[in-house]
Symmetry: C2
Subunit: 153 residues, 2 copies
DNA sequence: GCGGTTTTGTTGAGCGTTCAACTATCGGGG
DNA sequence: CCCCGATAGTTGAACGCTCAACAAAACCGC
């Protein structure tokens, strides 16, 4: 049976296109800056951040994947690269023989500390500086709603 | 000289993380749905959309790149693939011998027409259904501001 | 028109992501 | 205890993107 498509009305269309353009431009810009200044893509930066915030600067691979919004496969490849860069080290998990623990090395922490100011400045310049405080608040609520909607279902 | 980093305050931090989580989840979900249902990534879908809306269903490569928010290189690779899929055809530009014109084939149009309802449904389900009309309006303003801010500088 | 600069588009290498397949281990019901 | 399904993580191939290098044509000032 043919189900009627609920097409986007002109306002929704305009919203969707603007959103696509903005989010693509934002992430592309930040990614390029991070690659240029710190030699790593944004996804890797985020892995290092999550590790740096974890107790003992270490996390199980699964927890790290969850925290960084990454698939297991992706994280596996990424950590392999981060390990050859000397920024992360892998160790066996003592309580689960299937498990691996990723830990941030001192060198990794130093690299992150060196990269952070420039990246934060970029986020501020490209995102927060362009929005009013009210818009920042709106964006937070919208994003939190969406995040829950998407990860909940 | 050492310049003080303008770190993110807790509210900004929370906003930024929520935004990252939401936008990544949204695009990942839509990309996966489109790959599953239509056999193409979202970036290719958008190329076909832009072509379908152009007069004569054709555009110069540069204009298409601009419209789809793509680099020239990326578009070149993408159109090469779309051409072997039979969805796009390339022709020489009559007024500029450097130029190439990408045109949507009938088969490409049919593929797009078949993919559109499912994709629109996804956009609606994952984005618009979760937000109030006021939030949709806020998101539009925020996105338009950001888009201008990012592509203007 | 000539010579340098810009613009247009392509190419290939390197990298990151996805997907499916796989191994190994854990946990729970009979 | 044993088996079966679920979970943890890895792997390799295919694919898309980025970047730098390049060729060709157009534009522009003189």
């Amino acid at each position: 049976m043919a189900v009627m498509t609920r097409w986007l009305d002109p306002d929704e269309q305009r919203t969707w296109r603007a959103y696509l353009t903005a989010s693509r431009a934002l992430m592309d810009t930040l990614d390029r800056e991070l690659q240029r200044d710190a030699g790593m893509p944004h996804a890797y930066y985020e892995i290092l951040v999550r590790l740096s915030e974890a107790p003992g600067r270490q996390l199980r691979m699964s927890e790290l994947a969850q925290a960084a919004g990454s698939s297991r496969s992706r994280l596996s490849h990424a950590v392999a690269r981060l390990e050859t860069a000397g920024w992360v080290r892998r160790e066996d998990c003592p309580t689960d023989r299937r498990g691996q623990i990723a830990m941030l090395t001192d060198e990794g922490f130093a690299t992150l500390a060196a990269a952070a100011p420039g990246h934060v400045e970029g986020v501020r310049r490209h995102l927060f500086d362009a929005l009013s405080p009210a818009q920042v608040d709106q964006l937070r609520r919208i994003s939190e709603t969406l995040a829950e909607h998407l990860t909940g279902s």
